[in-house]
Each structure stands twice: as structure tokens, then as C-alpha cells.
Symmetry: C2
Subunit: 184 residues, 2 copies
């Protein structure tokens, strides 16, 4: 890989990250703007990432792999971390989950998260429907639901998430393997 290519790649990711962080709506961030902010031509952006969706996905994965290098061994902690992550990277996550057909689930970060949760669910209640239940748990922290509840002070998502996890795993398993961050 040529040096300039690598340099440009980094510049584009950095610029895109900044723009998405500043925006309040995904489609405020155009590919033109990304290219301009990175100080490269538009062709370079598309050559490097294929298309808009590719850029978004790579950027998201970048953040996600850093954030989820280690996954807690407790479902509630996983979901809480995910929830927080999505609030932090609001606009980017909205972009990822909204773009193109079916795509929110075709994504390495999602797969890893889902596999991990499936394992935890299996450990707690056996393999029956563990895959679906893991999907359901992740659906409860979908970015637009997060966003929607954020502006609706009536509902407390933390509490709700806890109840959901306790319901699915049972009270014993729900609190097992809990990290220090939220002791019991």
C-alpha cells in the first residue's frame, strides 16, 4: 500500500468522523464535504471506500472495535455500553442503521456483539432461541429508539433495560459476571 494512499485514508476517516460528530442529521454530511474537509478529491474518497455506505461502515467499525475490544461478560453491561456508544456516536450510528436495505445487520460489529450475546444468553437459559433473543436485546438499543427516548423524559431506559434483561435471563444470571462499573 502506497504511503499517500494510507495517509489519505486516515485523513478521510478523520474528516468524516469530525463531520458526523458535528452534524445533527446524517444527510447533512455529503461526500463532497468529506472530501473537502479531508483535503482530497472526491475520487479518492470513493476509490478508498467504494461508496457512502462503505465509508460509514468502516468509520463505525473503527470506533466500535476500539470501544468493544473487550466485551463484558454480563448482558446488561453489554447493552448499557452499546446504548452509551450509540448516544456518543449518535449521528454516525443513525447513518449506519438507516442506509440501505437490511444493512444494519450486515456489519462486523453487529455480528460480534450478537455472537457474544448469544453465548451469554445460552449460558443463562440454554440454546433455545438464544439467537433470536440476542437480536431482540440488540433491537432494544437501536439507535433511533435511543434517540427517540432521549427526548422523552417519561421513560427511563436504564431501568427498562434492566427489567428486560432480568426477564429474559432470570434474576440470578442477570447479575452474574458483572463488571465493577455498576456493582450489583
Amino acid at each position: 500500500m502506497r504511503a499517500d494512499k494510507a495517509r489519505n485514508r486516515d485523513a478521510v476517516l478523520a474528516a468524516a468522523g469530525r463531520l458526523f460528530a458535528e452534524a445533527t442529521d446524517p444527510d447533512q454530511v455529503s461526500m463532497d464535504a468529506v472530501a473537502a474537509a479531508a483535503g482530497v478529491g472526491k475520487g479518492t474518497v470513493f476509490r478508498g471506500f467504494g461508496d457512502r455506505h462503505g465509508l460509514i461502515r468502516e468509520l463505525y467499525d473503527d470506533y466500535a472495535t476500539r470501544e468493544f475490544r473487550t466485551l463484558p461478560d454480563n448482558v446488561l453491561d453489554v447493552l448499557t455500553r452499546t446504548w452509551d456508544f450509540k448516544r456518543t456516536h449518535r449521528v454516525l450510528t443513525l447513518a449506519l442503521e438507516r442506509e440501505g436495505f437490511t444493512s444494519p445487520y450486515r456489519n462486523d460489529s453487529y455480528d460480534r456483539l450478537h455472537a457474544h450475546l448469544t453465548e451469554l444468553v445460552t449460558r443463562a437459559r440454554g440454546p433455545r432461541n438464544a439467537g433470536f433473543l440476542a437480536h431482540a436485546l440488540l433491537a432494544a438499543v437501536r439507535s433511533d429508539l435511543v434517540e427517540y427516548l432521549r427526548e422523552r423524559p417519561g421513560v427511563d431506559p436504564r431501568e427498562g433495560l434492566r427489567d428486560l434483561v432480568v426477564s429474559i435471563l432470570g434474576p440470578e444470571s442477570a447479575y452474574q459476571g458483572r463488571g465493577d462499573e455498576n456493582p450489583r
Copy 2:
């Protein structure tokens, strides 16, 4: 309301319904195409529905109010009906849930469904977090998850949904008020 307006309105809704039903991806259906298929000018479409999102929402509500005129008094039945509805109106639902920022939840059909489920959940386990749990239940039948699992034969969503509902409501409440369609 002038006669021509009403006539055009119907024509546009019918045309849009047909186009979405035939499409495999929401953005295969352009506003131009809708106008052309309805035999009216583009201006008429936009005057009648405001913008693309307005058209999609009205069309969706049209189908939804017809389908959900009466709601079953059983959570699992509600979710199953919703799931089926979304499979039937795949592309339209994808369009609705994907368009614009936060919007999937700002929608009469969603509100009605959510209110009804909140009531059922409250009846089964009290008002604590009932609102959030109702959101979580509906999140499990999000259209793109439906779509994703549709092509993944490993996971059985019916079974999974049943387990999810039983977990949240408890086995007794889960089967109460069940319609004939799935007699225990």
C-alpha cells in the same frame, strides 16, 4: 374538498401502493414514478402529501388502520400480526422506518400499537417500565430485522417471539386473551 382533488388523492395512493408492492427496495420508487403511474403531475403529489415522507406515512397508515382496526388482547398475537403485516408490506415498511431522523416512532400506527401493548404489559406485570418494555417488544419486530431473519433459515422468529413474550409477561399472562387463530 374538490372532486378532482379527492380523485387524484386516491389515484396517487393507489399508484404508490402498487409501486411499493412491486419494488424490492424503497428507493426504487421515486416521486416522479408515483406521479406518472397515478397519471398526475408531480406538483399534485407534493401538494397533496407535503413530501415523500408524508406520502409514505399516509399510505402506511391507510393499510395499518385497515389491518389493525381491532387489536388482539394478547401480546403475542399483536406481535405476530405486526410481523406478518410487515412482511406483507415489506418495502413500504422499510421505507417508513428508514426515512428521516427518528421518524419511525412518530407515527399514529406506532403510537396506537405502543399504547395497546403498554396496557397489556401493565395488566400482566404492573406499570413499572411497561412503556419501555412495549418499545422493546415492538423493536423485536422492526422491519429490517424481519427482513434480515427472513433470509436466515436458522432462526425461527415465531418461536423466538413466543419465548420473548413468555419471558417478559410470564407464562400465565402470555397465553391469556388468546384469539382463536393460535389456540394454545
